[in-house]
Structures are given as structure tokens and as C-alpha cells.
């Protein structure tokens, strides 16, 4: 029983940290983009503008939470909740540190993939329930994009599974104590990152939103708290993909081999995540959005063969006991 309570406390702490972190991420992103574009970014609210997100949150809470009369009201309300919940659920299997982590599910990786696939329902349902053409187009794009990219997202991590021999993420991390999987799985890592960006609808793969073409894509009709949930989902998604990359390819909480262990494991984990988040922001700053057909063609014609090749090669090398 106390174990149960301890678990609940742990879950609460993780959620309580993740959500403000997602909010902070908005500010971090805007400041970083600012820096890279020779601007300052938001710097007025609080020291260095750190409270900008809270000002934004206050504003967004003050907005009318409007449900369009022409929409499918129940689904319209449900969609953003599904999105946020799916991402949050995925965090359950992330091993933050040797002794931190909600669940050591032995099919942790599969659970993550399942949740990532479920998240697309949020977008598709939002697009459909809005009963507006821009939203629907956004939803359709999201469906096609997610379905395509989750295929080789799954394939790309199989190399890791082969190497670690487990779907349990904690074991995946531990399996890297001899050397991070990035050494052998750089192709898998690349495919995973690209697929991850696509799964979380981040630039340059934010075609479901594509404000230059579709007003605001699937969330055109959303406002107020529901819109905030989508936003939350997106930034949690960024964090999640970063965390997964770290866990799968960059040794999780493990310190880089040559360094001493004078920092706690969780800090290493956070530092690594931060690196990937900044990488995602850099991508957003520098790369333009491809056309939708280019996106799908890139997925099926480049990424899929790459992922298959990676899997085959890894399997072959494993069989030959090179790895």
C-alpha cells in the first residue's frame, strides 16, 4: 500500500514538473529562435521574460472557450484531451534515472509506439469534429503523415531491441553501459529522429497545421483551454521524442564514458534531453516546410528503405556476433 502511495506521489511529481516544463519550453523556443534570428525574443515578463508563458497562459485562460455551433460537440471537446493524455501516458515508461520512472513495463517500447499511434486520433478527430474544411484537411494530412512515419519509427528502433534484447526501456539503457547505441545505430537514430519530428507535427513537418496553407490546420476552430491542450500536447511531444532518443540511442541517464560521475544521473538525463530539444528548435528555425507529397515520398522512398537496411544490417551483424 505505501508503495502504491509512493508511486502516486512519483506520478504527481513527474506530471507537475512536465506540464510547467512544456510551458517553459514555449518561452525557451521563442527566445532561442530570437537569438538565432538576431532578435531578443520575449524578455519583458519576469527576469529574462521567463514568465512569458504564464502571461500567455493567463491570457489563454481568459479567452472565450468557444465551441462552434456547427461542430460535433462531444468529439470536439474530447480530441485535445486524447492528445494530451496519450503523450503524458507515454512518459510512464521513460526511465528518468536508475530509481526514477513510473513503470518498468517490459514492453515499454511497444507501449510508447502504441501511444504515439493513438495520439493521431486527437488530430484526426479534432479535424473532423470541427466541421470546417481547413480543419478537416489538416486532420487528413495528420492521419496520412502519422500512418506513414510510424511504420519506420517502429522499424528504426528494432535495431536497438536486437542489440539490447529487450523491450524494457530500463534494460535498453542498462544495455548501453558498454557504449551508446548511437555508435552502431546512427542510421536508426536518424530515422527515429525524423519520424519523431513528423509524429509530433513539428516544423519542418508541421503539415497538419501549415498556417500558410490551412489557416491553422486541425485546430483552426479551437480557442481557449482546448487550444492550450493541443499546445501542451505538442511541447510534451517534443520532450517525449527527445527523451526517447536519449533513452534509445544516447545512453539514458548514463554519463558519457570518459567523465566522472560527480553529477547525479537525472541531471545527465535532463542535459541530454535539453540538447535534443534545442536541436528541434534549431530545425524549426532553419528548415522550410516541404510540400505534402514531398513529405510522403521522402518517408516511403528514403526513410523506409533506410530503416529496413538498418534492421537487416543490425540483425546480420548481430548474427555474425560482430556487435
Amino acid at each position: 500500500m505505501p508503495e502504491m502511495i509512493w508511486k502516486l506521489v512519483e506520478i504527481s511529481i513527474i506530471i507537475a514538473l512536465l506540464i510547467p516544463m512544456a510551458a517553459m519550453l514555449v518561452w525557451v523556443e521563442r527566445r532561442m529562435i530570437g537569438i538565432w534570428q538576431d532578435r531578443l525574443g520575449p524578455n519583458r515578463v519576469g527576469p529574462f521574460g521567463i514568465l512569458q508563458s504564464f502571461a500567455d497562459l493567463l491570457k489563454i485562460l481568459g479567452k472565450e472557450d468557444w465551441i462552434p455551433p456547427f461542430s460535433e460537440k462531444l468529439v470536439f471537446t474530447l480530441a485535445p484531451i486524447i492528445g494530451a493524455v496519450c503523450v503524458l501516458m507515454s512518459f510512464a515508461v521513460i526511465p528518468f534515472a536508475p530509481d526514477i520512472g513510473v513503470s518498468d513495463l517490459n514492453i515499454g517500447l511497444l507501449f510508447f509506439l502504441a501511444m504515439a499511434s493513438l495520439a493521431v486520433y486527437s488530430v484526426v478527430l479534432a479535424g473532423w469534429a470541427s466541421n470546417s474544411k481547413y480543419a478537416l484537411l489538416g486532420g487528413m494530412r495528420a492521419a496520412a503523415q502519422t500512418v506513414s512515419y510510424e511504420v519506420f519509427m517502429g522499424l528504426s528502433v528494432m535495431g536497438v531491441v536486437i542489440l539490447s534484447g529487450s523491450f524494457n526501456l530500463r534494460e535498453v539503457v542498462l544495455a548501453q553501459s558498454e557504449g551508446w547505441f548511437i555508435q552502431s545505430q546512427f542510421i536508426g537514430c536518424f530515422v527515429f529522429l525524423v519520424a519523431g519530428i513528423a509524429e509530433s507535427h513539428r516544423l519542418p513537418f508541421d503539415l497538419p497545421e501549415a498556417e500558410t496553407e490551412l489557416t491553422a490546420g486541425f485546430h483552426t476552430e479551437y480557442s481557449g483551454l482546448k487550444f492550450a491542450l493541443f499546445f501542451l500536447g505538442e511541447y510534451l511531444g517534443v520532450t517525449l521524442i527527445s527523451a526517447m532518443s536519449v533513452v534509445l540511442f544516447f545512453g539514458g541517464w548514463l554519463m558519457p564514458a570518459p567523465l566522472d560521475t560527480w553529477l547525479p544521473a537525472i541531471v545527465w538525463f535532463i542535459v541530454k534531453i535539453a540538447f535534443f530539444i534545442l536541436f528541434f528548435i534549431l530545425l524549426r528555425t532553419s528548415l522550410p516546410r516541404p510540400r505534402f507529397d514531398q513529405l510522403l515520398a521522402f518517408g516511403w522512398l528514403v526513410m523506409l528503405p533506410l530503416a529496413l537496411f538498418n534492421l537487416l544490417a543490425t540483425a546480420a551483424l548481430k548474427l555474425m556476433e560482430v556487435l
Partner: protein, 171 residues
């Protein structure tokens, strides 16, 4: 692929360049004298209004935010009975200044045009008219045109011959 990576690298390099942002209002940016800000109506060197209410600014205005009505004063000058600019519509494009044949309407480097109430952005002639000559210190339209006004009779303007004696027979 290489181009994408190069782009990312170039962007990344900007981490170490200084931001161009000027922190207005603590820091005031430099605005050149010909900057296109708030619109004013200027006067001739002798203090008379330059605007002759010809309506060219109004017709040049792409957002139709200038309205005026012409009137003729006792001294023979044409002036604007009223002259109104709706700055809540104005896009500060400067077309009015370019269209103005008398250098009356000029844009100034004052850009601080914010109001809490849009109605306060409607400027009438008394708000627009300044005491000075603006960017063109010497120009006086009536000296260039053939029109007779109180203190300038026919033939007394720039590049004008004295009026013709119709009854004269000399060729």
C-alpha cells in the same frame, strides 16, 4: 541534404551574433528625417497654409483615409474647409506626400501614434497643421501658379510676364 545541414550550421552560428533589436521605448531608434511617420500639413515661408485642397492626396491614398473639402477664402487662396486623416486606417505609405503638388502634406519621423481609443486617431486640420515649412523651406505654390491672390497679382509670380494688354496692336 548538405544544404539543409549548411543552413542549420549557419543559423547556429548566429548564437554568437549581437541582436539587432532596439529596446524601444527605453532606447529610441534613429529615424531619418524622411522617415514615413505621422502626417503633418506645413505652411509656406510667409506662414500661409500650403494646402490648396486639390484632393490629390485623397485620391492617391490606397486606404481612402483622407477626406477634405475645398473652400475659397476672401484673399483668393484655396484652402481646406476641413481636412481629416483617419490614422487608424493610415498605412503611412507616403503616397499622399508624393502626390502633393504644393509640398503641404509631409510625413514626419514621429511614429508614436498609439491610442487607447480609436476615435482619438482621427486627426482634423487643427491637429495636422504645423507652424513650419517642413522639408521644403522655400516653396510657395501661389508664386509658381498663374492664379491671382490678394498679395500677388497677375504676372507677379515666378517666370511670369506682365499681363497682356488685349487692346494693344503690337505683334
Amino acid at each position: 541534404m548538405f544544404s539543409q545541414l549548411r543552413t542549420m550550421w549557419l543559423v547556429l552560428k548566429h548564437t554568437f551574433t549581437k541582436a539587432d533589436t532596439v529596446e524601444y521605448p527605453e532606447q529610441k531608434p534613429y529615424l531619418a528625417p524622411r522617415y514615413r511617420g505621422r502626417i503633418v500639413l506645413t505652411r509656406e515661408p510667409n506662414g500661409e497654409e500650403r494646402c490648396v485642397a486639390c484632393n490629390l492626396c485623397a485620391v492617391a491614398c490606397p486606404v481612402d483615409c483622407i477626406a477634405l473639402q475645398q473652400t475659397i477664402d476672401d484673399d483668393g487662396r484655396k484652402r481646406a474647409e476641413f481636412f481629416r486623416i483617419n490614422f487608424s486606417r493610415c498605412i503611412l505609405c507616403g503616397f499622399c506626400e508624393e502626390a502633393c503638388p504644393t509640398y503641404a502634406i509631409q510625413l514626419t519621423p514621429d511614429v508614436e501614434l498609439a491610442e487607447y481609443d480609436r476615435q482619438n486617431l482621427v486627426y482634423e486640420k487643427e491637429h495636422l497643421l504645423i507652424k513650419g515649412v517642413g522639408k521644403y523651406p522655400d516653396y510657395s505654390f501661389y508664386q509658381q501658379s498663374g492664379i491671382k491672390i490678394k498679395d500677388k497679382d497677375k504676372g507677379e509670380g515666378v517666370q511670369e510676364k506682365p499681363p497682356i494688354d488685349v487692346k494693344g496692336l503690337m505683334p
